[in-house]
């Protein structure tokens, strides 16, 4: 297949659904070889690999597998994440805090660490290595009321982690960029608990209302942001926070009392 990403290899964690699936589909449509790494099997594009982002052993074997089969790694989309159970600062348990952080924060830390190792195999030597790491944070990494406590803290960790990775790769002249994406409410399975609570129609109306643009995001709208950051079209962008939230964090928010993941 020819296209902007022809000959390039991308890993998308959490690529079986939601923003990950939309990103995988767009990358594939533009010519990339896509590895969908997820705990649940993918019915979409790309090669599926069963993968637990919180496990370093899983990352080692995933990278070895990709380098053996595809021979290179150019794009890493650290998208896998969980909202965790609804919980406030008073009700969140240590176990829940750790469970959410192991996926959302540890998982992105490991994803960046092994992405760099893989991308260094991409060029003939380090000086010619090249790549783009896209970490999916959230508006919850920017404002405090946008999610359960553990989720919000973990997305703040991803926001700053991404900057450290960006500066480290720049200092080492690896040719690897790293940015964070901050989606507002996007119509994915992460909202299933809310749909179950109040019904999809009413829930969607609630989420629509906190976005000045008037509606929640579609996965493909975030996929386009990921695609741009993955591409050379964003070659001067690193360590940046790319917000795609329908204006949610732009102005003075109207508080609904509802915490969106």
């Amino acid at each position: 297949m020819t296209g902007e990403f022809s000959g390039l290899v991308a890993i998308v964690t959490g690529g079986a659904s939601g923003i990950g699936a939309a990103s995988a589909a767009l990358l594939a449509a533009h010519g990339a070889t896509v590895i969908v790494a997820d705990t649940q099997e993918s019915k979409g594009v790309g090669r599926f690999v069963q993968h637990d982002v919180a496990s370093e052993e899983a990352w080692k074997s995933l990278l070895a597998d990709v380098l053996a089969r595809e021979g290179r790694l150019d794009i890493m989309v650290n998208n896998a994440g969980i909202s965790g159970r609804p919980g406030t600062i008073e009700t969140t348990t240590v176990e829940e805090w750790r469970r959410v952080h192991s996926v959302n924060a540890d998982g992105v830390f490991l994803g960046c660490k092994y992405a760099i190792e893989g991308m260094k195999h991409t060029g003939p030597n380090k000086a010619q290595s090249k790549g783009s790491i896209v970490n999916v944070s959230s508006v919850a990494g920017l404002i405090g009321s946008a999610g359960p406590t553990a989720y919000t803290a973990s997305k703040g960790a991803v926001r700053l982690l991404s900057k450290s990775v960006a500066l480290y790769c720049a200092e080492k002249k690896y040719g690897i960029r790293c940015n964070s994406v901050h989606p507002g409410g996007v119509d994915t399975a992460i909202f299933n608990p809310l749909w179950q609570m109040v019904g999809r129609e009413q829930g969607k109306a609630m989420i629509d209302a906190v976005h000045p643009i008037g509606h929640m995001g579609e996965p493909a709208e975030l996929g386009e942001v990921v695609l741009w950051l993955a591409s050379d079209r964003s070659s001067f962008v690193t360590g940046a926070e790319i917000v795609a939230d329908g204006g949610m964090t732009t102005g003075l928010m109207r508080r609904t009392g509802f915490a969106a993941p």
């Binding site: 240590v94 540890d106 405090g144 009321s145 803290a153 790769c169």
Partner: protein
């Protein structure tokens, strides 16, 4: 009138650095300081120096039961809890290529989980005491990245976001509890001592760090403490969920 009259403040990391400097100012301003620290010797020493308006209690910030005991000790000593300062923290160099999962967890547990547990454990007692103020120490590295402070960066980003979440929860539940983060630059405390001796090019570590700050020097713990006292006091009652930077112009 003293700015913290009859207010009881629980301070993690209260035996040294920013925590200790804040404890001194809390007592000077008419408040009571509960010095919670893993360093019992230093903590007891400072408590003795500060007199009957200060007590020491042992604290392991990553242990929820230890936090509950520290809150109970505060109530037992002074009958109420109005303020919490999460100042305990660890600074350690790390980068994305060489940091192990163990080191990542150690730094995030102390800085991030520790702050979470402090907030969680104190809120109920503060509410029963009529409300108050929580101050979480993040860092300029909760605002900006650093290539060689990867795990620390992530942990302080978590504290920054956690603080806003706590602030919103306390506001929505009408708890009369505020929560703000403080973002110090490089402050002359034991935490950065290893950096002061490590030469960078032909500069000493101290000179290099001083030159980072437009004010041309390191911050003093007392300068950060003074911002914290403002946030603990009733002078800042309309501030919650905000980021207070004390960095000599570093991020300007």
């Amino acid at each position: 009138m003293p700015r913290l009259e009859n207010k009881t403040v629980l301070i993690s990391g209260g035996a040294s650095g920013i925590g200790a400097a804040t404890a001194r100012q809390v007592v000077q301003e008419g408040g009571r300081a509960v010095l919670a620290d893993r360093d019992a010797e230093a903590g007891k020493g400072l408590a003795a120096e500060l007199g009957d308006q200060a007590v020491f209690t042992p604290l392991e910030v990553t242990d929820e039961a230890s936090w509950q005991a520290a809150v109970a000790a505060s109530l037992e000593a002074f009958g109420a809890l109005h303020g919490l300062l999460n100042a305990a923290g660890v600074g350690a160099p790390s980068d994305i290529e060489t940091c192990t999962v163990e080191e990542w967890r150690r730094v995030n547990d102390i800085n991030s989980l520790g702050t979470f547990l402090g907030c969680k454990s104190a809120i109920a007692a503060m509410r029963r005491s009529g409300g108050g103020s929580i101050v979480n120490i993040s860092s300029v590295l909760g605002l900006r990245g650093a290539a060689h402070a990867m795990a620390y960066n992530a942990s302080k980003g978590a504290v920054r976001s956690l603080t806003k979440n706590v602030a919103m929860h306390c506001a929505l539940t009408k708890s009369n509890i505020r929560c703000n983060s403080v973002h110090p630059g490089y402050i002359d405390t034991p935490m950065i001592a290893p950096r002061l001796d490590a030469a960078v090019g032909n500069m000493s570590g101290r000179q290099w760090l001083e030159a980072l700050h437009p004010l041309g020097r390191l911050g003093k713990a007392e300068e950060v403490a003074s911002m914290i006292v403002f946030l603990l006091s009733d002078e800042s009652t309309f501030s919650t969920g905000s980021e207070f930077v004390c960095d000599g112009g570093l991020t300007a």
